[in-house]
């Protein structure tokens, strides 16, 4: 077998793939950073894509603060997870707005909740950024008072807070 030739050809193909990859990533609006944020302790993990809309100021970073907001009763908690996950268990009185069915749900949601409603979005946990994406979608629909509970349903449930 002509190993020298095979290795040269492989290097050539891998070189073309690498150059194409970095070029496309650089120019694509969906490109990501060369190094992402994959440590859960400071917040939600993310690849830091160019299209990311993460706003740290909107994040509720601990479950106790989320519970205090919940207890005041002024905020509507909105679940970004799939409808199936929502049905299996969610924060008590939370409303479903599954990210993959957002367009089907938002019309009814807007009729019920005016644009100045204080909304708290959440999903599963810090490995999930759906609550951030939902916040952006709600913002695009005129909701300006939205916070993101980044520890999500798992942490809420683990604390023994009300679920249904």
């Amino acid at each position: 077998m002509e190993w020298n030739k095979i290795i040269k050809e492989m290097m050539f193909l891998l070189g073309i793939a690498t150059i194409s990859a970095f070029t496309v990533n650089f120019f694509s609006p969906k490109g990501i950073a060369l190094v992402g944020q994959w440590d859960e302790s400071p917040g939600v993990v993310a690849s830091k894509a160019d299209s990311d809309v993460f706003n740290g100021e909107l994040e509720i970073k601990d479950v106790k603060t989320a519970k205090q907001i919940y207890d005041k009763g002024t905020a509507v908690f909105v679940d970004a997870r799939s409808l199936e996950n929502f049905k299996n268990g969610h924060i008590k009185n939370a409303k479903p707005l599954p990210l993959n069915q957002f367009d089907n749900f938002i019309k009814a949601f807007k009729k019920k909740y005016p644009a100045n409603t204080f909304i708290v979005t959440y999903c599963s946990e810090r490995t999930c950024d759906d609550s951030h994406k939902l916040e952006q979608l709600l913002f695009d629909h005129g909701y300006i008072n939205v916070s993101i509970f980044i520890d999500g349903y798992q942490a809420w449930k683990a604390e023994g807070y009300p679920i249904e």
């Binding site: 073309i16 793939a17 990859a21 969906k30 190094v35 690849s47 990311d52």
Partner: protein, 167 residues
């Protein structure tokens, strides 16, 4: 020397297998199956690198600094290798790259099966592709095809360039 009937049957089977292994039509079929599969696999990853990076993170095996680099480069390695297999450009080298990737996927999946780790963030960006055991079985079948393409000794059909020979 008298050859026993059992031994003769094994020899005949070996010859048939060798014949199948060196069948040019099987080689081109495997090349196309692998090529289309890998181009298809790369498509979604190239369109949504952020989601793919989340999946790489989900395997919980790679250092944080490498996750994004893998998510950026790997889909293009799959795309270029897949295209080369279909077009018959350096098919042996492309098959070797694909086999390397498949072997890596199989090892990663087996490690996670053994340690009982399954990533499920409940998010839309990292939905499960299937059960890990099914994925290992599927990748082993692809690896067999890749080995046939790599080790094939006959004249390859439908190739632009292979090992310097233009057909």
């Amino acid at each position: 020397m008298v050859i026993k009937p059992g031994k003769r049957r094994v020899t005949q089977l070996n010859n048939k297998l060798r014949h199948l292994f060196n069948n040019g039509w099987i080689e081109i079929a495997f090349r196309w199956i692998l090529g289309i599969t890998f181009i298809y696999a790369s498509y979604y990853k190239i369109l949504s690198p952020a989601d793919f990076a989340k999946m790489v993170y989900g395997y919980n095996l790679f250092p944080e600094v490498l996750i994004n680099l893998i998510a950026i480069v790997l889909p293009f390695v799959e795309l270029i290798s897949g295209l080369c297999l279909i077009l018959g450009i350096y098919p042996r080298s492309a098959a070797l790259i694909i086999n390397g990737l498949l072997l890596a996927f199989i090892i990663i999946l087996i490690i996670n099966i053994i340690r009982g780790y399954e990533f499920d963030c409940g998010c839309f960006s990292a939905e499960k592709a299937g059960s890990p055991k099914m994925m290992v079985a599927r990748d082993i079948i692809y690896l067999m095809m890749g080995l046939q393409v790599f080790l094939f000794n006959g004249v390859r059909k439908g190739c632009f360039i292979h090992l310097g020979r233009r057909i």
